[in-house]
Subunit: 181 residues, 2 copies
């Protein structure tokens, strides 16, 4: 099965909570890790480390890598690049997710902002530009729908979790386990 | 076809951007409107009004209604209530979305926070408690996946849009139209 790694571009200091939501969404919906490019933000790293420690992994978080270096590394491993953007092919119509899956490649998912460099849209950078509806909304929402459709039917197992939710029709149930050494 | 309306509970002043993302996600992925309960936040109203004016509607935004009144109104119209929570039935396994659809009812989707009142989980409030994976992540991501799965194959048409994206495999294309009177 293909892996997905998220590349978060354009994070600013004030984006702490949004980028944290993007990272937690990446983890919850089956991505292997997130690369926060060009900047470092220890607040996000701390939250992710805590969530992985309590709720399980594996899930990696890297930061401060330049986006060009991250893309070069990905290309060197023959990985596919998917850019999520309102301007791309709409995942709600047509077969774009099918074409992505058929490559069989590991996927770098670029999650940007309104102001991504125009070269992100070019075939040199992005094999696919994919929209979750061609409307302005949220990078967090777009990532969620993309990963849900990509991994549908393949549920991620979280390892070494201390906390685990037992799904309930009504009410809350969480079990705690002693962390394996 | 059933309608969906989003009820956003627990918004605080510092949540402006997250709640805005929730509202834009609601609009983009087919909901009819959003009710921000218990508080007012003119900043969100302004953004939503601008997006609807440029990108089309209809999409309503109400704020300052008490959550109890909003739920009472919804129940009076025989609507269904779905609470999105990490503790609920996992949409990724089983048939919960199918059971929701089979009711044929209009749906009020409660999007809360970590600290929702425990009564939200009870059958008196929520007909369904649904998790998008039983992991902590993001209310925006959860709403996106729920609406995507609910409305899959039914694409919302936006009326009276001034701006419209023409999807592209590479590059950006937006057309501007004169707003109908």
């Amino acid at each position: 099965m293909s892996k997905a790694v998220v590349l978060r571009w354009g994070h600013r200091h004030r984006d702490e909570r949004l980028t944290t939501h993007v990272a937690l969404t990446a983890r919850a919906l089956g991505a292997s890790g997130l690369i926060l490019t060009d900047v470092k933000d220890e607040r996000i790293k701390k939250t992710i480390d805590e969530v992985v420690s309590k709720w399980g992994g594996p899930f990696f978080f890297k930061m401060g890598v330049s986006w060009k270096a991250a893309l070069r590394d990905w290309r060197a491993k023959d990985g596919l690049v998917v850019h999520l953007t309102a301007y791309g092919e709409n995942i709600q119509v047509g077969d774009v997710i099918q074409r992505v899956k058929e490559t069989g490649k590991d996927i770098l998912v670029i999650v940007g902002s309104q102001k991504v460099p125009s070269e992100f849209f070019s075939p040199e950078i992005s094999d696919f530009n994919i929209a979750i509806g061609n409307q302005p909304h949220s990078e967090c929402a777009s990532l969620a729908v993309f990963l849900d459709r990509l991994f549908k039917g393949k549920i991620k197992k979280f390892e070494d979790a201390v906390l685990q939710i037992i799904p309930q029709k009504h009410g809350k149930k969480v079990i705690s386990k002693v962390k394996p050494k």
